[in-house]
Symmetry: C2
Subunit: 238 residues, 2 copies
């Protein structure tokens, strides 16, 4: 099966959580949005008048004739096919639950630079962003990181994986969360990292996995920038 990933060109964004799973599994996939005409092809598939089961927004995956939207839902679909989830239903639901909790965190990180409207520029909502980012740094990130640290430490005796004894897609996503937070909020993370040593070790182990390391060193990995979810604005990291 050749998978087609549809996402905006130029940013890691939510597409990156799907890319990491496809790369780790060495799946056959095309990153359509980065090809010539790819974004136009993507926008055509969002047309609910013409496309059955059109997604609301990118990223989405095409697998044969099936279109699957919502990042966590794509990973729910891919998990068993890529060998990145446990075999039992309870383990799969738990993995998905953690992914949905990451999705909630991503909304909060995004809204820390866009608290008023996605349709406005950051510079048009900078004053409000300062307030929201302060709440993110002081209340929300500690709560989320404490939670995931505890899940990781308690989830397995060795704290090597968030779910059970094997790698799952949520480990890959957690790598991306830590990497993104370090990019966007380096000052805040210096203090916060003391709370989550096991998450940092997980991040380092994922980064060193051969297929992930090769991906990160390739041109397929876009750099973080100020168009994605994780943006570095020094005034928000004060």
């Amino acid at each position: 099966m050749r998978y087609e990933l549809y996402y905006w060109d130029g940013i890691q964004g939510r597409g990156e959580f799907v890319r990491l799973a496809l790369e780790e599994a060495q799946a056959d996939y095309v990153d359509v949005g980065r090809r010539a005409g790819g974004e136009d092809a993507m926008i055509a598939l969002l047309d609910t008048e013409r496309v059955a089961r059109a997604p609301f927004a990118p990223p989405f995956l095409k697998a044969g004739r099936q279109l699957i939207g919502q990042t966590a839902n794509i990973l729910l679909f891919l998990g068993p096919r890529l060998g990145l989830v446990p075999d039992d239903e309870a383990g799969r639901l738990w993995t998905h639950q953690l992914q949905l909790t990451i999705a909630d965190l991503l909304v909060e990180v995004h809204d820390s630079h866009h608290p008023i409207a996605s349709s406005l520029y950051y510079e048009q909502q900078r004053a409000e962003a300062r307030k929201r980012a302060a709440d993110l740094r002081e209340r929300r990130l500690p709560k989320f990181l404490d939670y995931f640290e505890s899940v990781l430490v308690r989830g397995s005796r060795t704290a090597n994986h968030l779910v059970g004894r094997r790698l799952t897609y949520v480990d890959l996503s957690m790598f991306q969360v830590i990497a993104g937070l370090r990019y966007a909020y380096p000052h805040a993370m210096t203090a916060l990292e003391k709370r989550c040593p096991a998450l940092l070790r997980l991040h380092d182990r994922i980064r060193a996995r051969p297929r992930i390391a090769a991906y990160l060193a390739s041109p397929r990995r876009l750099p973080f920038n100020e168009q994605g979810i994780f943006r570095h604005y020094p005034e928000l990291d004060a």
Copy 2:
């Protein structure tokens, strides 16, 4: 199987999407948070140090020894057990995808009255809420409602259900979205409802289903209020 639903007392909130599915299926369930001592029991189950696979936040469901968190994940679990999803995997993923899109909308509705921080009172962020609510009314609600209207009209010849020919949990959730938006934004909805006649008919049909009608008339259905997701502040609905 007697299900235990854990959610805050006093609000419909995200728990209501689970309640509607349990009520429609006449499932055997206990709304633990509304019992004496129930919220304390709920908080105890959020303790990651003591509870394996503890959820990040309510609502969550206890089914035997299994704890399941994240509203859409609970419905993913319950759907086949309550007969509220299609039989095929593609249909189940599509139903879940629509539920996750509703979850995204709910975050935006919540943040229209809390754009800066959930830990602050509404009155402490009213100025920012006015701006965010304007964007919700003028850009985001039209986009979401147009999408779901189109899914409903195209999803089945008769436009009776969002997915296929039978009732699913996402129809019940869409009823709640329309009811909530009408409560929170009555003025804005007067204009917006012209865009989504099929969604309104779906809302009316769900409301008239015997088990749902009985539930809505019972003391188990809490009224909308200004502690939940859908809050009516006239200044945000100008």
